[in-house]
Symmetry: D2
Amino acid sequence: MRTGVWLVGARGSVATTSIVGGLALRAGLTAPTGCVTELPALRGPALPTFADLFFGGHDLATTPLTKRAETLADAGVLPGRLAATLAAELTAVEEDLRPAPTGGTQADRAAAAVADLTAFRRRHRLDRVVVVDVSATEPAARPHPGHADPAALRAALAGPDEVLPPSSLYAYAAVEAGCPYVDFTPSTGLRLPALAELAVARGLPYAGHDGKTGETLVKSVLAPMFAMRHLAVRSWSGVNLLGGGDGATLADPAANAAKVESKQRVLGETLGYLPQGQTRIEFVEELGDFKTAWDLITFTGFLGTGMRMEFSWHGCDSALAAPLVLDLARLTAAAHAAGRVGPLTDLAFFFKDPLGSPTHSLAEQWQRLVEFTGRLHAEAAA
Amino acid sequence: MRTGVWLVGARGSVATTSIVGGLALRAGLTAPTGCVTELPALRGPALPTFADLFFGGHDLATTPLTKRAETLADAGVLPGRLAATLAAELTAVEEDLRPAPTGGTQADRAAAAVADLTAFRRRHRLDRVVVVDVSATEPAARPHPGHADPAALRAALAGPDEVLPPSSLYAYAAVEAGCPYVDFTPSTGLRLPALAELAVARGLPYAGHDGKTGETLVKSVLAPMFAMRHLAVRSWSGVNLLGGGDGATLADPAANAAKVESKQRVLGETLGYLPQGQTRIEFVEELGDFKTAWDLITFTGFLGTGMRMEFSWHGCDSALAAPLVLDLARLTAAAHAAGRVGPLTDLAFFFKDPLGSPTHSLAEQWQRLVEFTGRLHAEAAA
Amino acid sequence: MRTGVWLVGARGSVATTSIVGGLALRAGLTAPTGCVTELPALRGPALPTFADLFFGGHDLATTPLTKRAETLADAGVLPGRLAATLAAELTAVEEDLRPAPTGGTQADRAAAAVADLTAFRRRHRLDRVVVVDVSATEPAARPHPGHADPAALRAALAGPDEVLPPSSLYAYAAVEAGCPYVDFTPSTGLRLPALAELAVARGLPYAGHDGKTGETLVKSVLAPMFAMRHLAVRSWSGVNLLGGGDGATLADPAANAAKVESKQRVLGETLGYLPQGQTRIEFVEELGDFKTAWDLITFTGFLGTGMRMEFSWHGCDSALAAPLVLDLARLTAAAHAAGRVGPLTDLAFFFKDPLGSPTHSLAEQWQRLVEFTGRLHAEAAA
Amino acid sequence: MRTGVWLVGARGSVATTSIVGGLALRAGLTAPTGCVTELPALRGPALPTFADLFFGGHDLATTPLTKRAETLADAGVLPGRLAATLAAELTAVEEDLRPAPTGGTQADRAAAAVADLTAFRRRHRLDRVVVVDVSATEPAARPHPGHADPAALRAALAGPDEVLPPSSLYAYAAVEAGCPYVDFTPSTGLRLPALAELAVARGLPYAGHDGKTGETLVKSVLAPMFAMRHLAVRSWSGVNLLGGGDGATLADPAANAAKVESKQRVLGETLGYLPQGQTRIEFVEELGDFKTAWDLITFTGFLGTGMRMEFSWHGCDSALAAPLVLDLARLTAAAHAAGRVGPLTDLAFFFKDPLGSPTHSLAEQWQRLVEFTGRLHAEAAA
């Protein structure tokens, strides 16, 4: 099952780490730490192997992959000599990276992206290409009548308006090219009625959105703990200090707002009430690809006794996100092969703001993921 | 369903808080925060109501309950005026507190305890009495041939030896008196072959052991999180600073060892490997009934990138334990009423070192608890 | 040396705690914990004793002092029974609290405040009255030509404009009444050229500003530590979560900005460069009078090795501020008695943003305070 | 002023970092971050320049310096390419590293060490050699009559007994060779009456002991802060998690005890009373050369209000210690050149357990250091 992994934002930290890591796994140079699809509970015949994965992608930037990999190695994200060892493989992938289409109407740009995707699929004789958006977070999209349905969208795209935000234009191109799609960012992506309708019409599955890699991951196990123990959470305040490209983007209050909102949602939905407190994101350039989150939770127990918990999380976003990108590409490819269509709500485990979000409890999400994957394996084996 | 709750260690902080809290709930003076049996997922007809609960117990100490309650109020564990409001009810409970039997052979002491239990049951016309051990942690028990089976045990108890540690002598008396039993401490309690055999022979259910109230509670959601994400935990080090009676007891290395061991077990069993690091318990008298735990977890993600997490937990042990004592009394009473016999492994949710321990994941334990309680309610409603 | 302590914001948490604490010290009911003027290095004959202190003040609010004290006792700020024990004394102080003057021109209001101060001084035959501003933080003042010099100010005050922010109007009244003045808040207070000139003309000393009670106190010892060790601080980020009246005020971005700025100043001035990162203030009502600050400091050592430090500070602002209010009243009274005039730069130890700020290092500020107090004692003894 | 720096434990992490860093400074490849003698307040003509420093030393291990430097680079302690850049210089230093003398009586071994020191001084035509002990911490020394005075010591050393612990044997050799001596570890070193008397007789200055690099450094500014604010510290508990060679050594309870004791001393001496709580050291191999310390401080303020502070310190011991080793070598050399004799109590700034310890406050120690260095510069310039 030859599977393309087409990364939107292909020269960013997450994408570079995903590519280097995928190549290292294929070459047997590293263990699949962080790849949940390699856990005994999820492994099986439905998934493409690491050797089945082929990488390509779009980016506005032009820095060579090997250069990006060296920068990440200097920052402690990648092991020192890995990029050098994989130099030949990285050069090969470089051939499959395309400049982000610019100029013309949005319809023109979408057509160029479709052409890139189709050429990639053909060149490597791929069974399918999964498009994964790992580009920088964009501000909330402005509403447009073209978002309502496919016909209105097509008409609008041919005009001079910027109808779709960039993430959604890529999602549109993915759908038009017959590619399953994964939204790893908080940007709009495929979440517009017109695009969702088109994806279903084309028989495509899609997953999203906003990869759950740090503070929200911890929240998704701690909030259920307080709920299961019937403890009353009075306040939950958090601060996220982050450098790197995403940090600078999120210093923009517009992008920040989207992310912050999805971060607090897990609390309200898990606890059944919204405690006091907020989550803040701040840009501290010197932290680079590492991120520090601190949360303070105050709660009361029996007879109103006040108690508290604090945690600090010092994580490397790229190292946490990249294996999930590979997981999602494998799972979405398997879902497509198995004929699944529309939102893959059983992949909620991976996301801060899951599609169709039935639960934010990590344990329940895990249970659903295990069952979903089990069904895929059973069908594949049949 | 008139239900006795007989507390071994009845004048300790946990017992006093359980009694005051139980009376306050009956009087409608407080919300059932911290009582998991009052969550929608667990509530139902099989459980005795708070008004059905009658409190009694044994203790070596003789400080009046109202005095203990005032001390706890000064320490911020109980609301300031609650003990005064409940003065009449507390005085009534005082009547049902008995001195811990001393003198004579262990058989004599067991007989005295049985007589106390029987008198309590008769006096209040109770359907059953659940014995809950909330006394201070004792050192690991020395092996004795009498632990092997009921006949050997009976013979030995009549002799001059200290055959059983105190917690086990109370468990023996509970069984002899036909009382279901809950072991809330890390002491030996009912965990001896002779006692387990006797309990089954008498048709009694029992639960245990070692209430999960603080750091281990957090571990039981964080360790599964790392496991589910396939992250490699390299070290997990913890320190528990605690004052209060239990702190002084645990400063004794022998008692400490038992507790520390059960605290690390959750890691090995959840992760499938034992990370480096240890858990320490230290006595800091000035912290009183409050406890501070700090844990440092170092872990690696994709491609070996090193990351870390820290948490601090500032909890009041009595306020966390007392509602669980009420929960366990209600659930064990319901299990007895429904004819359940032997270890209640479905109550693992409540314990650091659960009987028959099939899992240490809080989410899985919760699932089992919900199913178990659901069956009891269905039977009760039928 | 009969000394009046006139509190602007006399029914707030800090003022109430100062009054209750001052009365408790006079009655010998508590130790002077937190009062630096009771340390051996500072004690001496120049200072009025606690028995010499008489409390009065202005407030817009009308809640009785005893009621405020009970609220603080419920919140854990004051010991449970202290307000009851001091009921008679508190009722006596209540007589000396006046409503904040309202209506008329600012000149009218100032005259009313001067009359209150003069009556208070006369009623208790006081040698002097020290006015201490402990009212809620106000937004940054708008410039006005009347701020430039006393003549312009007097002319403007008689007109219809709101020439001075409230804190400065009180400072003006203090000066006009011949009272030394202490600015414990980040508000404008006496920091206007016209007021400073007037104070000097009247032969009055004044101190300020912005009491250093929590996170900034810690910064003022940690920043010098990094400087003395020649370690390069790369980023210093902080968040302050606070409830209480001041928290709500500071949720107003205008007031917030003033406070945040004075909090970061200590870093730039101590280190000689401004590290990355910011300090945030957030309102979390449920924290009440307690405040939690968390700071992350990243720094590099020899050969660029990256390291980090985190701290959490859980303090009760009123309990930290109130003894300093007493200290400042005593010291400023002594300075006035000794004929000091103008800004008391030797009191920098007490302030986040000290007047004339020669240093932000707590240790150097301490040294200056010890020398200053020593000179006062020597003069008093002579 | 050609100055030898002879490191006992010359192939350990601290020594290797000192040598690599010293060579990098000489070559202008790095800034003197962490070197306090390069601060404007301390810089001056009395100190040898970095170009004046020549490195040598003893070690039981034989791993080449370049290999040790590579290991430290892999661990993130040294920059990746620095050891390679300095390959020639490191090879030259390798020539001046000698195996630790073994075999024969202790007198024989001391004579061999003296010969090594003398040869080193002669080979490089050095004005003096400062011996700095940076070897692993050893258990507390057993008393021996030979420790009492020089004559008894000489007699005993010639016999078959192990009279001196290794650190003291090196100190003896240093003194015999006419070398000033610095004790950077908690081992016995020069702290025996016989050795102190000998050093003075030889006209030698010496400094120590136990470099203050992490948690104790923070304590030495925080404890004075609480004292200066008259806040009552109720408990101060700490845990130090460390890997690396020193961690393994300190897992030995005997060595641990010495270190733990010197860590708590700062509190008692600064506060004037000893708060509850202890400091623990634990070995967590996976932490490598990095160390995490966590401290909890509980304190009360005005009217007994309880408050708390926590801090975590994540430091790299070698990166913190190495620049201080260079500082101490420079300062001790300058003191020797200026004719200072006996314990250099003005260097307390650098040590956990300073000789003659007049104060543990970092700020006061700094003041003394500035004055001491100023006098040396004035004499040198004269």
